[in-house]
């Protein structure tokens, strides 16, 4: 093929070509197999054994016992419920707010640096720093700014993180603040690819700004929106950091996500078989959504 075209020594070129492809892929493939494919197979197999972190080896074969235990464990369903509820609570505002703010920001040329900095800055801050600011500062009982502001309106604020009815909403709010910039930037990038004359043509046609946004800009962002929604759902399903550090899954386990159940049962209790089955179920939930991402990535690759 390409390698034999105009080459001085075709034999040499085709021979290197035969090994060049696999050879160049090998370094990445080795990491891929050791740290992704292998562990995935292990997770699948370990679910059938009663392994422990404390002793070497897989443990004893227990058939579907772990599966039965997990499915009968109300705490598994509860954490899965928290994870899904968190995903709903974060995905909706994170997509809608990013869309609206990006469309508004796209109308302005100067000052863009400031707007982008304000929204994107929290995203590059480690979750640990975010957690410190909100747990001990912004959301603190009695003394935190969020408490004070609500009190100005003559309402007695709840304990944002101590009240089981409020903790998940508080965590979702922190997450929206923290990660909005990522979706905002994806939308800004997509908006910049819409040609200016699309706006101008419709403005001359007499369409007002609101109609232009609704009937022209938002439909043109449909593909980006699919991607943003999928990436957001996948990211939200993997929630751990901010919950672990801010509420520790509490109060009364009311914010504990599935990933924390895996860490607690797998690493704290050392029950690798049980934790593997929970991992596999969480993987299947994430897979359902990332299949859409896969399809989008494949289509993009074919088009380019």
């Amino acid at each position: 093929m390409a390698s034999t075209l105009g080459t001085a020594s075709p034999q040499r070129a085709s021979r290197t070509s035969r090994w060049a492809g696999p050879g160049l892929i090998a370094p990445f493939a080795i990491f891929y197999v050791i740290f992704l494919v292998g562990p995935l197979i292990y997770t699948f197999i370990a679910g059938f054994f009663n392994g422990s972190l404390l002793k070497t080896g897989m443990g004893d074969w227990v058939g579907f016992t772990n599966y039965g235990d997990v499915l009968a464990d109300s705490e598994f369903w509860r954490t899965l419920g928290h994870t899904l509820w968190f995903t709903v609570l974060t995905t909706i505002p994170l997509v809608l707010m990013a869309l609206v703010l990006a469309i508004l920001a796209d109308r302005f040329v100067r000052g863009r640096w400031f707007i982008r900095f304000a929204f994107f800055a929290p995203y590059v801050i480690p979750s640990a720093a975010i957690s410190l600011i909100f747990l001990w500062g912004i959301l603190a009982d009695q003394t935190g700014p969020a408490f004070e502001v609500v009190q100005w309106f003559g309402i007695t604020p709840p304990s944002w993180l101590g009240d089981p009815n409020w903790a998940m909403y508080s965590i979702a709010g922190v997450t929206v603040w923290w990660t909005l910039g990522f979706n905002f930037v994806l939308y800004i990038a997509a908006l910049q690819e819409i040609p200016r004359d699309v706006h101008e043509a419709s403005a001359i046609d007499g369409a007002g700004p609101w109609q232009r946004i609704r009937h022209i800009v938002v439909p043109m962002l449909a593909r980006t929106t699919v991607l943003v929604v999928v990436l957001q759902i996948v990211a939200s399903l993997k929630v751990f950091d901010q919950i672990y550090m801010i509420t520790g899954g509490g109060p009364d386990g009311s914010t504990r996500p599935t990933l924390q159940l895996i860490v607690d049962t797998g690493f704290t209790d050392g029950r690798t078989g049980y934790a593997s089955v929970v991992s596999l179920f969480l993987f299947l939930v994430i897979l359902a959504f990332s299949l859409v991402w896969f399809a989008v990535a494949r289509r993009n690759q074919k088009e380019s």
């Binding site: 105009g6 703010l101 100067r110 929204f119 410190l132 980006t224 950091d241």
Partner: protein
């Protein structure tokens, strides 16, 4: 912020030439819309900055003042005592170094391994290329977080817990990086590769001396994305690193609040110190970082 001017004025400009086509009402609604849009944007941008400003302000308040009046934001006697005592405890300098070393190592290895694989998938023809391509692409659906137990056991048996390699190695197979490179390489003209091959350059040399030097945009996108990702990763280093001097910045920061009775200014100061490195980098290279991150998400 008052210097914000609307790009949309250029849009309505032609309207003044043809008043019949666009009534004044339209121009008014355009202006009104822009004002509202600007107001909403600035309000949200300021709201978004409040938590950061708050952390900085509290971090320079003297502890005695915070105890006396915990809800105030301001002080007339700003002090760096909180920062001093954090540096005196010593570990934060290790955390900076550890985060930098692990992030840089992961980034370098990922850039090299992923670009080599992408080059082969894009330019070299070999058996099973399509199959390998699909197999790798499928990897974007595997979240590292559900594989922690086997990854941990692998590193434990290799004796790599509490080492840099323990933090670095599992984060190398970043499939998205391969596909950012592949998309870029697919756009390189075939003639360029064929000319290099005709000159007798082997595939490895073609990759390293011809393709990589013209692939700066892809390299910088992957570098930024991987570096930020590894720098901010919390869960994985939390599991593999327990030695305080080997902790990365996020894990170290988390250990600050585990100590009982740490004064608020110190907690905020540690948050500020945790935020500063990437914030500074971001402020300096905003354009590149934003387009890099956007590219990683979209391709």
């Amino acid at each position: 912020m008052t210097s914000l001017t609307d790009g949309a004025t250029t849009v309505t400009a032609p309207a003044t030439d043809t008043p019949a086509a666009v009534p004044d009402r339209r121009i008014d609604s355009e202006k009104l819309f822009n004002r509202v849009a600007l107001g909403v944007l600035i309000a949200f941008a300021l709201l978004w900055l409040i938590p950061l400003v708050y952390a900085v302000l509290i971090s320079v308040r003297p502890t005695s003042e915070v105890l006396a009046d915990p809800s105030s934001w301001f002080t007339s006697n700003p002090t760096f005592d909180a920062y001093d005592s954090l540096f005196d405890k010593g570990n934060i300098l290790y955390w900076y170094a550890n985060s930098f070393i692990t992030s840089a190592l992961t980034t370098v290895i990922t850039v090299v391994a992923a670009s080599m694989a992408a080059f082969a998938l894009s330019q070299v023809r070999f058996r099973f290329r399509q199959g390998v391509n699909m197999l790798l692409l499928a990897g974007i659906m595997i979240p590292m977080q559900v594989l922690m137990i086997p990854q941990f056991l692998t590193l434990e048996s290799a004796g790599l817990l509490n080492t840099y390699w323990g933090v670095v190695l599992p984060q190398v197979p970043n499939v998205v990086a391969v596909f950012v490179f592949k998309t870029f390489f697919d756009g390189i003209p075939r003639e360029l590769i064929e000319a290099a091959r005709a000159d007798g350059a082997g595939w490895l040399r073609t990759y390293w001396q011809i393709v990589m030097p013209i692939s700066r945009p892809a390299v910088s996108a992957v570098t930024i994305f991987v570096f930020v990702h590894v720098w901010n990763n919390f869960l994985w280093p939390l599991l593999v690193v327990t030695d305080p001097e080997m902790m990365t910045l996020p894990v170290g920061l988390n250990s600050v609040q585990d100590a009982f009775g740490v004064p608020l200014p110190q907690l905020m100061a540690s948050a500020v110190l945790g935020a500063i490195p990437l914030l500074v980098v971001f402020a300096l290279f905003q354009r590149r970082i934003v387009s890099g991150i956007a590219g990683m998400g979209l391709k």
